[in-house]
């Protein structure tokens, strides 16, 4: 069973809390420690960015994180090492990579290397379902799960492709924009229902999740979990208590009806 499936089983109906950090931000050692803080704070799954020089899907917070990693001289190989070390410390926590097509294509065997490092999934921000097939074929061979993005404006034909080509979960975007876009606490249950009808993998909402009420609203809309990125990266950048932030957000994922 994949680490994602095992995680959903363990949660018994609670929402999954995914926490994102940019690998190598602000340097390799701090980055390794921050990843541990995510788990200590109660993150169910960890999402990691591999920095790219031209991140068109990212807002200012994630852009700045990539810039700090570059300043520290972080290379793609270093990021894969960070994942491998995390994997040896945390054998059960699912790890997903978020990066861009050029990073995946430039390094021969990137997908295989990512799988061997212990990553469970790969989301390529600038590969929509239209272009996903060759990437997914490679991921299938390497034993790493594919994650695609679905948005409120994604037509049903594309949702069918997303259902076909993704396996770990479906990364749902509640509102048009880039990472860090404020979702205003509104999450689209229509999208969740359309994904369900298409038999897509479990919907998890990202983009603009920064407060406990966002987490509750996303789960109320039918999401199986949430991913919080910019708020955690920002907290780490100002030297805040990342574990405490994760803990407070994770607390809102508990399904009160099932724990009574």
């Amino acid at each position: 069973m994949s680490r994602y499936s095992a995680m959903f089983d363990r949660l018994h109906g609670d929402g999954a809390f995914g926490a994102f950090l940019m690998l190598g931000d602000p340097d390799l050692e701090t980055s390794a420690r921050l990843l541990d803080d995510l788990v200590a704070g109660g993150a169910d799954m960890v999402e990691v960015g591999i920095p790219f020089s031209d991140p068109v899907a990212d807002g200012p917070v994630i852009q700045a994180a990539a810039k700090r990693a570059f300043k520290a001289g972080v290379r793609v190989g270093d990021c894969l090492d960070l994942i491998a070390r995390f994997r040896s410390r945390h054998p059960d926590v699912p790890v997903g990579i978020l990066t861009y097509a050029n990073i995946v294509m430039a390094r021969a065997g990137f997908v295989r290397d990512a799988a061997e490092a212990g990553a469970d999934s790969l989301l390529i921000a600038d590969v929509p379902s239209l272009e996903a097939e060759p990437f997914v074929r490679e991921m299938d061979q390497a034993g790493i799960e594919s994650v695609l993005i679905a948005a409120a404006n994604t037509p049903d034909a594309a949702l069918q492709r997303i259902a076909k080509f993704s396996s770990a979960y479906t990364y749902c975007v509640s509102r048009a924009g880039i990472t860090g876009t404020h979702a205003g606490g509104e999450f689209d249950s229509g999208l969740v229902n359309r994904l369900k009808a298409a038999s897509a993998p479990p919907p998890i909402f990202g983009f603009g999740i920064s407060r406990p009420e966002h987490v509750r609203a996303a789960l109320a809309a039918g999401a199986r979990g949430v991913i919080c990125g910019s708020a955690i990266v920002e907290c780490a950048a100002r030297g805040g208590d990342v574990a405490a932030l994760v803990n407070s957000l994770k607390a809102s994922t508990r399904n009160e009806s099932s724990t009574q």
């Binding site: 790219f52 020089s53 031209d54 991140p55 068109v56 899907a57 990212d58 807002g59 200012p60 852009q63 570059f70 290379r75 793609v76 190989g77 861009y100 097509a101 050029n102 990073i103 995946v104 294509m105 430039a106 390094r107 921000a125 600038d126 590969v127 929509p128 379902s129 239209l130 272009e131 695609l148 993005i149 679905a150 948005a151 404006n153 994604t154 037509p155 594309a158 997303i162 975007v173 048009a176 924009g177 880039i178 876009t181």
Partner: protein
């Protein structure tokens, strides 16, 4: 999508899923408009009576060899850019958009977009690297005079590629009411195909003018390549002819160093700004910094159709250094009384090389823009 958007292995539509519906809408509007006589007639009317088409074909009287210049420098706006902003502007109106966004390097495409924004009544926002805003104050003022708002981009290297990144980010949130008026034949499908079709007029006119003036086709067609829109527009109607097609990239301070913009000559396959194409990058896939004396050629990717034309062998690609381009710029001014853009000077520099080897060959050069924007830089460099 109705078309594949591929040129051999290159091209495609590498954008976040959220932008795909906007590109599908654009493709549909473009294809429908191509079949609509009212659209064609309005565009042709604007090209003739607003922009000044057809542009002349000028045979050089005093430069050596047998060189013909396709005079896009005489187009309204001062460069070939106007051809395709009129096309995209009309498409944006057809789609019911009320706002245009665009990226610009030195400011030529920003000015062209500001022109169409003023003409057709769009709110217009231009993203421009903060570094370029500093260097090109006059073009910033031109855009503002025509009612556009210029937003300096502080991210990354603060130049053209960062301006494109920022425009794509804006569009990811604004596509419902906003058209992204991309400035060249690069980017995700349908831009490379659509921009080629709107620029095809350059080669169509030039081909007929060559036959009219010389009685035959040229032996070689030469154009500079940054993103590649003027080159693809000039090449398109010669594709099936027995004519050499030569694209000239910016060799900057030399192809053996790293300070150049020679994507096809020194790059490797990758994905940038929505298309699979040649890219200047390091072994990790991080995009490299580029250099050229001409801002319009200072770009680390290239239109995907050029990547295919290179690999298929239908077109040849060469480089010209800053110094060679400057020398051609000066030669054209001194001998023919024409100030061309630094970009176009790259094409001319290669044509002059070719002419010295084959004095009898008829060489058609795309003179893509006028040199007014480069005069103060030329003054500093040639002093």
């Amino acid at each position: 999508m109705r078309l594949s958007g591929r040129f051999g292995r290159f091209g495609g539509c590498y954008v976040p899923e959220i932008l795909v519906p906007a590109l599908e809408q654009l493709e549909a509007a473009f294809l429908d408009a191509q079949e609509d006589p009212a659209f064609t007639s309005e565009l042709n009317g604007l090209l003739a009576n607003y922009a000044g088409r057809p542009t002349p074909l000028t045979r050089c009287r005093n430069l050596p060899g047998n060189i013909y210049l396709k005079r896009e420098d005489l187009l309204h706006g001062g460069a070939h850019k106007t051809n395709q902003v009129l096309g995209q502007g009309l498409l944006a109106r057809r789609m019911g958009k009320t706002r245009l966004i665009a990226e610009t390097g030195a400011g030529q495409h920003g000015v062209a977009t500001a022109i169409v924004g003023a003409l057709l009544g769009f709110e217009t926002v231009i993203y421009m690297g903060a570094e370029d805003v500093e260097r090109q104050k006059l073009n910033v003022f031109r855009m503002e005079l025509m009612g556009a708002r210029v937003i300096p981009v502080e991210s990354g290297g603060r130049t053209l590629k960062d301006a494109i990144n920022e425009a794509l980010r804006d569009w990811s949130a604004s596509f419902e009411g906003t058209h992204y008026l991309l400035g060249t034949a690069a980017g995700p499908h349908p831009f490379p195909t659509m921009v080629r079709e709107f620029q095809r007029i350059i080669g169509r006119e030039a081909r007929a003018q060559m036959i009219e003036q010389l009685g035959r086709l040229p032996d070689a067609v030469v154009a500079c390549v940054g993103g590649g829109s003027n080159a693809i527009g000039l090449f398109a109607d010669f594709m099936d002819d027995d004519v050499r097609l030569i694209g000239v990239e910016a060799a900057g301070k030399g192809l053996n160093g790293v300070e150049h913009g020679a994507t096809l000559l020194r790059g490797t396959a990758g994905v940038l700004h929505g298309a699979e194409t040649y890219v200047l990058q390091d072994s990790d896939g991080q995009i490299a910094d580029t250099w050229s004396v001409s801002a319009g050629l200072d770009y680390p990717a290239v239109g995907p159709e050029h990547a295919h034309l290179k690999d298929s062998g239908r077109a040849e690609y060469v480089g010209c250094t800053d110094a060679e381009a400057l020398s051609a710029f000066k030669a054209l001014a001194t001998n023919e009384g024409i100030l061309c853009a630094f970009e176009s000077a790259h094409a001319l520099a290669h044509a002059l090389k070719l002419a010295s080897q084959e004095p009898d060959s008829a060489i058609l050069v795309g003179l893509s823009g006028r040199g007014d924007k480069d005069v103060s830089q030329a003054q500093a460099l040639l002093a």
